[in-house]
């Protein structure tokens, strides 16, 4: 029963923040609500039993938000931020509380053969490093090459 309530809360927050992020005119406001939508999506990942992926989602959302905020404020000086700070703090606090509750919930399923928890990151690691090791290596190399390309692109643009 709490899972159902959490699902509806996270879904409503995700859709609300996504709509606001898409409809805003200013890029800074868009970034802010995009980060909040990412947090809500991380809560849905938790409800689906993917704790490690939800942590990755939070890290990626927060990192992307901070990077975008830094770049946008350095490129174009923004005017005053018109967000209500009290509402922003309340919403962020609610998300953190609900995420904390969701993290401490027990796993909902175990594999019958191995007895391993479906929700545990170790189960994902076992599959990733055994069945998908080659894909992981290629993906890591591809990410590294793309990252190097982005860095060279940015440095070339500044020159």
């Amino acid at each position: 029963m709490p899972d159902n309530i959490l699902f509806y809360i996270f879904s409503a927050l995700t859709l609300l923040f996504s709509i606001i992020a898409v409809t805003r005119a200013r890029a800074l406001t868009c970034v802010f609500y995009l980060v909040l939508a990412g947090f809500s999506t991380a809560g849905i990942f938790l409800l689906l039993g993917a704790a490690l992926l939800s942590i990755f989602q939070i890290l990626v959302s927060f990192g992307a938000g901070l990077t975008a905020f830094t770049l946008l404020t350095s490129v174009a000086k923004p005017r005053t931020i018109n967000l209500s700070k009290v509402i922003v703090l309340l919403v962020s606090l609610c998300i953190v509380i609900v995420l904390s509750i969701a993290i401490w919930r027990p796993p909902f399923a175990k594999f019958p053969m191995t007895g391993m928890n479906y929700t545990s990151p170790s189960a994902l690691g076992v599959v990733l490093l055994n069945d998908y090791l080659l894909a992981l290596i290629f993906f890591s190399a591809l990410l590294f090459l793309c990252f190097a390309g982005v860095l060279s692109f940015v440095r070339g643009g500044h020159k």
Binding site: D3, N4, F7, S11, T14, L15, S18, I19, A21, V22, R24, A25, A27, C30, V31, L34, A37, G38, T41, I44, F45, L48, G49, A50, L52, L53, F56, Q57, V60, G63, A64, T67, A68, L71, L72, S74, V75, A109, F111, Y118, A123, L124, V127, L128, Y132, A135, F139, L143, C146, F147, V150, F153, V154, G157
Partner: protein
């Protein structure tokens, strides 16, 4: 009401639709990049929902790859825009 796979599918479809609207209707390049991130999120939800209902870990693996691509896409979009 008990949450089933259909609820997650509807949520994923709605999120995908919001992303498509953001890409198609807006002219701001930054908002278009952000909308593509929403599309990536919707695909992650879809993979994880099917993975959870079938008790398979492959969906988690693909979702992990999608999150990596999403981070890189956002970095690349910011690099191009700024």
């Amino acid at each position: 009401m008990t949450v089933t796979l259909h609820h997650y599918l509807i949520l994923s479809i709605l999120l995908f639709a919001i992303g498509i609207v953001g890409v198609a209707a807006r002219r701001n390049a930054f908002v278009m990049t952000a909308s593509l991130l929403l599309i990536f999120d919707s695909s992650c939800i879809l993979f994880l929902a099917f993975s959870r209902w079938n008790l398979l870990l492959e969906g988690k693996v693909f979702a992990l790859f999608i999150i990596g691509v999403k981070a890189l896409w956002f970095l690349f979009g910011l690099a191009v825009l700024c």
